[in-house]
Amino acid sequence: MDGGKFFGAFRACSGIQDAVVLTHVPVGCNWGAAMFKSTSNQPDIRQACTVMHEREIVFGGEEALREALVRANRLYNTPLFVVITGDAPAIIGDDVEGVIDSVTLNKEVVCVDAAGFKGTMRKGYEEALVRLAQLMKERTVIKNSVNLIGFCPDEFKVDADVKELTRLLNNAGIKVNCVISKCSLDEFVNAPAAELNVVMGQGTELAEHMKKEFGVPYLEVDYPYGLEGTADFINAICEHLHAGVNEKKPDLEPFKRIYLYLHELYGTPVSVIGDSHAEHMARFLDSELGFDIEVLAGNEDDYFIFEQNVRNSNTTILFGSSFERNITSELRIPLVRFTYPVFDHVCVYDDAPYAGFRGAVCLTETILNAVMGFGDKFGGLTIKTEEG
């Protein structure tokens, strides 16, 4: 299910880790944004809300926004405020930029128009990043450096994945200049110093913008799940930077330890749903673990049809988000959570990624444990004999 433009913008902007996001919305929109974000990173709650009520709907929300800006300025010592406007102020026509211009604050303020009815989550993410790009500055290019574009701060395993990809790139002699959007304002401002932008699933519009404004070329790659996927990822970047192909082989020892189980799971019919990572996950499952992909769907596809397709398939494991708990419960099959939103599992250990070489091990371990620990599948079954 798609989250709509507001959510996309919120996820992009809250990734600037020393910014405060001020949502100009009624309380309900603010609640949802906070709730989805706080599952696995509870101190990182840099969010304020203008708390629009009926008074603001009738008389306009500009005064509430002005007051919120002033109060937030007193409360938060941060270098950037991002004001994200939702459906209600967009409809009543609040002059958000006018309000921002009328207030003197000791920090940068960027305004993002993100009414939910104006587009998808992807669109919200893309547009918000381009909007934020007005803060970027021309910089001297750092040789063999890249920006990784396409991340959100509330993705499952994001910290661990970024850490692993940074490790792998560093091993290949490549510096990670900025991870967007999971970086400080300073890193974001200096993003044009990178020699290459690496777009992983989303953020293409920002990459296009940076190419045009700062001359930074970009490369679109798959999210690096699996050994093969990771090698492709590293090699593609190395090739582009003329840094030479990375010769380092991944450690196969962990897979050796469980090879008998992998034999048994080979050919397992599975289904995958998710954001831009879904297709890349399916490729890993298919190509490297030998699973048969029954249904592959994106968040923008019709969810009802996805569920029907899964019901009508031989799916034995479903890869998705917390939203899929219902269908997996109904079908009594394991759910492997890998894509946003995950709000019924936490991930706080930064050395257990799903991406990269180490991620291939962790992910395989998760999949095996999901199957092996899934008692219900067999618990309720009775073996019918000829006698009945």
Partner: protein
Amino acid sequence: MMYGEQTVEIGSESGNGDVRNEGFLRPLISAYSTLPLHGMTAIPGKISGALMVVDSIEDAVPLIHGPIGCAFQRKINPFRPYLPFYETPCTDMNDVDVVYGGEDKLSLGIRETYEKYHPNLIVVITTCPSDLIGDDFKAVVEEIKAKGDVGCDVVYTTGDFVGKTKPVGYQDALFAITDQVLCNGIKREEIERNEESVNIVSFPIHGAGLKVAEMVSVLNEMGIKINKICFDHTTVKDLYDLPKAELTITDYPMAWARLMKERFGVDHYEILAWNRYKETRNPELFSPYGFEGSARVFMEIAQRFGKEAEAEEVIERRKKDATERLSKVKKGLEDKEVAIMGGIHGIGMTLLRDVGIKASVIIYKTQALESRLTSEAINEMLDINVELARKYGSDPEVVVNPTIEEELKAIKETGTDLVISMGATAHKYNKEGIRTFNPMNFMLRHQRIGFEAPIELAMQLKEALKKPRKRNPLLSMLEYDPYRTNLIPEWAALADMFGTLRQGAVGDKDRYDSMYTI
């Protein structure tokens, strides 16, 4: 906070009524409940409340009339975050609909929802965009019904039907169902009455089926029948049967219950009688639990049916029996003293009195209330706590908005045996060698109208007094806000911000209403 009030009703999550291992579920539920969002740093808004109502009616389906994001973010059920709202069909309004109107999409959405789910009731929940552009929901719903396009009832809820009666979404959805379905086209005289019967209707997350069992038994002994209990596997047909009762018993005042009285003559009775408190200022009206509180509630219900004599006999017999059993159970508790958190929610003073325990300290934290209640209401709430404590033989030291050091000092100086404290702060006391009792489990599963609850409380308190006195919890190594002692500094800042901005919201600050719905 009502936020964490989840109960064993989730045992039915499996769909076959199996009661699951509560030992596993309790920490699971608590883990979600401790997110300090509700009321302090965010409010879920009307859609969540309406969804909760629809989710509680087994054969009903919601239809969110708004952009897809409204349905996306509502997947998390704020009242039971462990159990999302899986079915949230949405009309997926876009910018064209916002300009030209979303009525066609609503009409299509209702038909599609019926085709997909075949429910007995579709509840259209409107959102900010559809409310703002002025879609004529009523006309769309009536046209659909008139054409016979769907084979079920359809209602719409906007949040406007009940004024600012909180929780708005919850109240409004129930009002809409009552107004547009139960009362629609049915005349009072056509209803086949279930004489001398009551409906017992509680907040859907309160596990009505479990917590009213004793009440049902007592009322039956008085000669009062049960017409319907909601929400306990409630269906649309059950809702249609509600007007057959003579009286509806609710937790607190409900707009839909008043409407049912107006239209069908079904009277209503509220367990938390804050309306009557406003007239009498009798603090006992906030203590419906324990022997005396329950006896009063049962007698007041009986009076509605002219069954005082029957009630007197049943109440006395039940009370006597329970008192005798309690006297054995509570041995060893008589000289114990507890520190309690002030406020309306929590274990009532009447229950503590019943088990023979005195309050040595009342810790009163007002920060979370200051943006929602007037200072008069906050002070009055404190007075109620203190007055009841003194009336029941305690002479507590009262500390208002203390730092943790001040709390600990008061607790130690008074020789307090146990702190009745939620899990979020228990580690601070355990670190200092003070035992704690988490009241949440008792409040969710045991605190109810009836005479058995004090016995269960006594047993649980005795168990708490056997637990290790000193611990070295990992949590106590983290930095917390000095005043909002359950929040780390980042959350405290957020709470300050949210509270400050919310303070100015029109109609959001009530003298009393919020006291019972936060």
